[in-house]
Amino acid sequence: MNTGDSTTFENNQIYVSNLPTSEDVIFSPLEVKYRDINIWINLAILGVVLSICVAIYLILELDFPLLLLLSAFLGILIFFGLVLAYTYKHHEYRGYAVRQQDIIFKSGVFFRTITTLPFKRVQHCEVEQGPLERRFGLASLAIYTAGGSSSDLEIHGLTYENAMAMKSFITKVIGNSDEEE
């Protein structure tokens, strides 16, 4: 490893200005459909929570003052409003960019992360589809490296075709990589 191939890799001065930068990469957004599904799911949960509350209130024949009821209702609404806003914003900050050699993925509303994962280091990748995703023609792409679970990428909200295309592209690149001993 370090004895024979000193000729192939000796002293690369890196001029940062000449490198391909991740700065001017254009990120592709995830499917709007995916965001909308998540919003609908949250609305459905809101409906269920509200109806359970009402049911409990009626069944137990509770008698709370109106003010308390109103504020509780308002609290639940505000909470879900925030969740919805978060879901909406979340979509805005997520994006991926596939380059020849690697994939860049960004995410996070408050805490933002940008991850670059060279295809050379990919162990394997999977396309996953849950029942809901299948219904709407969506899929998620999971990319695994040897860097542990925290460095693995999982991109939700791709169209099934896109996910499959990315998967086959990555698989092809992995197969082509000509690594030496």
């Binding site: 490198l19 805490f111 000509d178």
Partner: protein, 500 residues
């Protein structure tokens, strides 16, 4: 090769010592599992239950010996042309075949018992995701060495014949075992290492043990609080506390000293052509090898005591198998600057001392931000506690805040990183010094993270993921983080070497 000496093509059993070895292992395993019950029984009931214990002990040992003997007679191996075949199993027969090319390394281990009979425990590490590690409990040393030679020679012959590049390097190395000793710890050095260990760790262990004992004794109805009333009579003064603390300290030191000596007795750290080898141990002599291509990064650190003696603990971080989540670390204690230089040079041709490139500092917000938050929190708690007049706790809180702020400052001052386009060297530490050296091409992926505050100030954390863990460079400017990420990714993508 004296092939007439041992014929491994016929099934070969282990040495008879294996029976004792297996017996010992199962008995000690059972004993360790049942230890709490024994303790509780002995202390709890006393007298009459002793006979039960005796009977169960006899029963267990009889069963264990039967198991050991059956196991012995049902375990054997033989060599076919390309594989090592192994039959084992007491209740169900297990047949394992290991192709020679899958064998990563063959290690020997000798416990005190095995050393008396001059037999070794054979450990065969295999490559691949199915972790079929194979242990042979006891084999005569001569036989074991012979077996290793046969397997390795078959391997190297294969290499000549096929000359394909897919041959594992680790094996061809061991056929010509030209190891150069880098470090040999004698008793004096070992003592130095032992005395400078982190005693807090063993202190914590003792504390946990006592707490555990205390809880268990309480469970069986032995109330220790009853006795502790007597302490109040003595007066729980500072002198008693000091004495207790001193005793605690001395015991901690002795325990960690003994632990270190037993584990690292007669440590020999040596360099082969393509890997390192560490042999050590008092009761159990272990031999571990770390191949260069498996080492993901190296780190060395000292502490306040070690700094005085100018010694370091060197750790080699290895990735075992791509799909396994087991991280393998090998620590070599008591290295000096000299050995670290040797290792770093052998692995990466990198000289630690040479100031080729300056160490870059991280941004001061790393310290400032943290200190402001901690101070505000501390002040609030302090005021609150003063308000309810618990001044002692308030003082502790104030000290804690001071400590946290001070240690953050030290960390900030010591942190630095530099890269020459091939190697990334990160230094840091709190009281001691910590150094990490990694070849950039072994990086798995890189990510940049930003908190809302960091985003406002155009700062970011850089995370580097390797197959043996992740490393963080905190609080650099966003621009720097981006440049580092770009250049690391570029190096990974343009380098043709295998990361493992």
């Amino acid at each position: 090769m004296k092939k007439n000496e041992y014929d491994f093509s016929v099934p070969t059993r282990q040495s008879y010592v294996a029976i004792i070895s297996i017996l010992w292992r199962s008995v000690s395993l059972i004993f360790r599992q049942l230890l709490p019950i024994f303790v509780v029984l002995v202390i709890g009931k006393g007298g009459q239950s002793n006979s039960y214990i005796l009977i169960s002990a006899i029963l267990i040992s009889v069963l264990a010996s039967i198991y050991a003997i059956i196991n012995y007679y049902r375990t054997y191996f033989f060599l076919s042309e390309k594989e090592l075949m192994l039959y084992t199993g007491v209740f169900t027969t297990k047949k394992v075949s290991i192709p020679f090319e899958k064998i990563q390394s063959i290690n020997f281990e000798q416990t005190l018992l095995l050393r008396i009979f001059d037999v070794v425990k054979l450990k065969i590490d295999t490559a691949g995701s199915d972790k079929q590690e194979f242990d042979f409990h006891a084999l005569q040393k001569e036989k074991a060495v012979h077996l290793r030679n046969i397997i390795l020679s078959v391997k190297s012959n294969e290499k000549v014949k096929s000359s394909s590049y897919e041959i594992d390097e680790s094996l061809t190395v061991e056929t010509q075992p030209t190891y150069i000793t880098l470090l040999h710890l004698d008793m004096v050095q070992l003592f130095k290492v032992g005395i400078t260990q982190n005693h807090l760790k063993s202190g914590m262990l003792i504390l946990v043990f006592f707490l555990w004992m205390y809880e268990n004794l309480k469970d069986i109805g032995l109330d220790l609080d009853k006795y502790s009333d007597n302490f109040d009579g003595l007066g729980f003064n500072t002198r008693l506390l000091m004495t207790l603390f001193l005793v605690f300290l001395v015991i901690s030191i002795i325990i960690s000293l003994i632990q270190t000596i037993i584990k690292n007795y007669d440590l020999v750290f040596s360099r082969g052509q393509k890997g390192f080898k560490i042999v050590r141990g008092f009761f159990t002599q272990t031999e571990v090898s770390a191949m260069d291509h498996k080492i993901q990064y190296i780190a060395w650190n000292d502490n306040l005591l070690k700094r005085i003696l100018k010694i370091f603990d060197l750790t080699l971080f290895q990735a075992t198998s791509a799909e396994l989540d087991i991280k393998k670390q090998i620590s070599v204690l008591g290295c000096t600057n000299h050995q670290i230089q040797d290792v770093s040079h052998a692995l990466y041709k990198y000289s630690i001392g040479k100031p080729l490139y300056q160490f870059e500092k991280i941004q001061p917000q790393y310290f400032i931000r943290f200190s402001i938050i901690i101070s505000i929190l501390g002040c609030l708690i302090f005021i609150g506690l003063s308000y309810v007049q618990s001044y002692q706790i308030a003082m502790v809180v104030a000290l804690l805040v001071l400590y946290l702020v001070g240690s953050r400052y030290l960390r900030f001052k010591k942190f630095g990183y530099r890269s020459d386009g091939n190697i990334l060297h990160i230094k840091g530490g709190l009281f001691g010094n910590k150094n990490i050296v990694l070849p950039i091409f072994k990086i798995q992926s890189v990510s940049i993270s930003q908190s809302p505050y960091q985003r406002r100030k155009h700062l970011a954390d850089l995370h580097i993921f390797l197959a043996a863990g992740s490393i963080k460079i905190p609080y650099v400017t966003f621009k720097t983080a981006q440049n580092l990420m770009d250049s690391f990714v570029y190096i990974v993508e343009s380098d043709k070497r295998k990361w493992m």
